[in-house]
């Protein structure tokens, strides 16, 4: 009896250890998932007095499209980011660490609202966090 329980347990554990075969893009919820995450970020920005001024002259529909493209491509989805480099798009805007932190908080809130798994959230954060050097104090 104990032997069967152990066998069943080890099979279950082995099954759990398998890295998900699906791409991060799929685990973020695919096309609609990424769109909802980006919309969540835009909602956060719109209601955040500390950063909303940076977007006063931004073409929001275009910004939304580019952000969706970028998240899609970075997470292994079927898209190609058509915008300029992160460094190019942020130079001269005097973006501080507090502004960057604010965007990260809005991203996290958006992912939480979309019920993205902790693993997938961390995987996306791992991809986006190093952009700090191209965005802040340029």
């Amino acid at each position: 009896m104990v032997k069967y329980v152990l066998l069943a347990l080890s099979l279950t554990l082995t099954a759990c250890q398998h890295k998900p075969e699906t791409s991060l893009y799929q685990r973020l919820g695919g096309e609609s998932g990424v769109e909802h995450i980006v919309d969540g970020i835009l909602y956060g920005i719109e209601h955040d007095q500390s950063i909303v001024h940076h977007f006063a002259d931004t073409d929001i529909p275009r910004f939304r499209r580019l952000l969706i493209e970028q998240f899609c491509e970075l997470s292994g989805g079927p898209c190609k980011y058509s915008g300029v480099s992160m460094q190019e798009s942020h130079t001269g805007f005097q973006i501080t660490q507090a502004h960057f932190d604010a965007i990260v908080n809005h991203l996290i809130t958006a992912m939480q609202q979309q019920k993205v798994s902790v693993e997938a959230q961390n995987e996306l954060l791992a991809i986006l966090a190093p952009m700090y050097k191209d965005v802040v104090y340029r």
């Binding site: 500390s50 501080t96 660490q97 507090a98 960057f100 932190d101 604010a102 990260v104 908080n105 996290i108 939480q112 798994s117 902790v118 693993e119 997938a120 961390n122 995987e123 954060l125 791992a126 966090a129 190093p130 700090y132 050097k133």
Partner: protein
Amino acid sequence: MKKVLAALGFLLVSPYLMAGSKVIATGGATTIEGNSGGGIVPWATINGYSSSDEWSVNSFAGRVGVDDFTLDSLGVGASFNNQWELSFARQKFALDTIGGELRQDVLGVKYKVAGELLYTALPQISIGAQFKKNRDFALPSAVGAGDDSGYEIYVAATKVFFDAIAGRNLLLNATIRSTDAHQTGLLGFGGEGVSRKLMFESSAVLLLNYNLALGTEFKQKPNQLGFADEQHWRDLFAAWFINKNASLVLGYVDLGDIAGLSDQTGFYLSLEGTW
């Protein structure tokens, strides 16, 4: 003490009072010496949630209860720009079986030199100094300590690795401390044949999600006071970052032998409020 606890209790029910921009849990917890870190090891993190051009203040109350001793710590801190940290802690070390108590004040300052905890390949690196002053020196003096005050300098490197273990983020920290303190200064400083030593301390913390973390720490101790052996400290802890205003840490500590009494193990509890 009651007022502090009441204030901390109030924080549990008040969401986001003046919290800074930093991501939750990135200010670390507060150590028994009042600086940002785990429970016994200071990290390179800056306390509170102040990001660039922001400031924040914090307060904490902690208790370590082992077989024959109880350490109560109470303190306040302030930080600015996610770069400067100032802290003050008042410690009371009760000698439960021996009788009496040893009190000590710890004034700390920390400055972030390089790196960003979350955002750069380089770990966040900070340097810190602590000025410690005994408020009871009869016993430390009687057992051979030369000074009732001392200072410590430390360098800490801390980094969060995203998606490190089972999809969870992992914080690693290493700290090197220069000290001539006995039992962190509770038994005084210096004395005959005592020299300044470099000690190594480390922490590993697995962040289960944004609010919960499990960690372990090691703190090397110098053992320079002849009358009784001093041993390295270890702990295991669970931290709950309830929101940006309140956090709670519960742990198990192993402080080894203290003042001739062996195998001092027990619990650690700390409650922190951040504004």
